[in-house]
Symmetry: C2
Subunit: 224 residues, 2 copies
DNA sequence: CTTTTCATATATGTATACAAAAAACACAGA
DNA sequence: TCTGTGTTTTTTGTATACATATATGAAAAG
């Protein structure tokens, strides 16, 4: 019930937030390429709004680091260097391990069940070519672990770090050779959390991210 | 020289950035209290600018979580719950340890020297009542460790987490009884990094943050 | 043919205008 | 006194206007 009320209340979204999400998606998906200029009037016409919401959205993208401002020239899409990616993944590795270990202590039976189900879902998708659904199942799997860790700040930081790599995620999931390994890792992570075995979870999560890191870096090399 | 050129080039700051920094400081120092409304016209008059730069500054504060938006009502200063603080400190603990361990591997002789000097500076200030300088020295000490870790993303996240607690920092530094212990901990952290002893650095850094956590939580209890 | 200079166009930075929603208030009625 | 309702005020959300800085391009000078 209160959910419904909430839904009704949320049906209003300021234009600036619509624009923010739109531009954000476009950047993370690579539709707006690094170095590309974000010209306010152009975007305003394109999205059918005035410059004001565009500018306010850009301010948020600026703080998030997705665009960089050049004084009196406007915003350009930030380019990610290999160093940037390594830095992001290094921090993410640490925090994913942290989340996994905390989940060992704090996970509820409810969430544990969801984790198992999502793991199975991922397994089912692994041999299909529905990469989008596969990616979504992967996101859900990790989301459940974050939720189990029960630290809101950790969740937002991890989500942000993960999103930094959306542009590459689909790329590396297309490497179907790695799916078997991914399924295996998910299974081990689930088992570890179920047993409350921090050591095991920490180790598997570490290699999970390391593998991802290598795959992404390799994918980048190819495209450049 | 190039510093001068840079200074000249940076002499231009958009009003929105001036406003952003001003409001940010005011919130972090507690001059704007949690729950307080940020009314655009009022702020605009107060700072002598139009609503536009105010609004753009608020968008950044919004993304940073320092203010929360209420639809069609505007922005209010975000209030920090005890849970929020615990969450922040929990993540910060992990990342401070990460930074310390990375510093063990990557620190340069140059930075190691700076770390030693800043530690001594802190020691010198410990018995004075110049809490502001003491806090600054503490910030510098940790900044050097972050820099030594050599991960830009880690630096920005840690800075952000640290700033979340600026409102309380001065409070707990006024507890002069803890100064001796702080000096001791800094000394041990420095020694650990010098020796490249990750275990030691990790342990001391952990208790360093834990102590800070307890002090801050205690300070909050008192004020409420 | 290259370079410099000046005029023009374009885009940003800031201010203001306007519409609409929410809050505050006053007042009538029970 | 409390409640409900209509009105006014305030404030936000969005659009537009204006000034200025930068880029663009053509014409003049070398």
């Amino acid at each position: 019930m209160s959910q419904d009320i909430n839904a009704v209340m949320n049906e209003y979204l300021p234009l600036r937030d619509v624009v923010f999400q739109t531009l954000r998606q476009a950047i993370l998906r690579g539709e707006l390429e690094p170095g590309e200029r974000l010209m306010e009037i152009h975007l305003a016409n394109r999205l059918g709004v005035s410059r004001t919401p565009i500018r306010e959205a850009i301010r948020k993208l600026e703080l998030e680091g997705l665009v960089v401002m050049i004084p009196r020239r406007g915003a350009i899409v930030a380019s990610i260097t290999e160093k940037d990616l390594k830095d992001v993944l290094e921090v993410r590795r640490t925090l994913e391990i942290m989340a996994g270990e905390m989940a060992c202590e704090r996970i509820t039976p409810e969430l544990l069940k969801q984790l198992e189900e999502t793991g199975l879902e991922f397994t089912k998708l692994k041999d299909t070519d529905d990469f989008t659904s596969l990616a979504e199942a992967d996101v859900r799997f990790h989301d459940i672990i974050y939720a189990a860790a029960g630290n809101q700040r950790l969740i937002s930081i991890l989500n942000n770090l993960r999103e930094q790599m959306y542009r590459y995620r689909l790329e590396y999931l297309k490497d179907t050779g790695s799916h078997e390994r991914l399924v295996q890792e998910h299974q081990e992570i689930y088992e570890g959390i179920r047993r409350g075995d921090k050591e095991a979870v920490s180790a598997v999560t570490g290699t999970h991210i390391d593998n991802q890191r290598d795959a992404i870096l390799e994918a980048i090399m190819k495209t450049e």
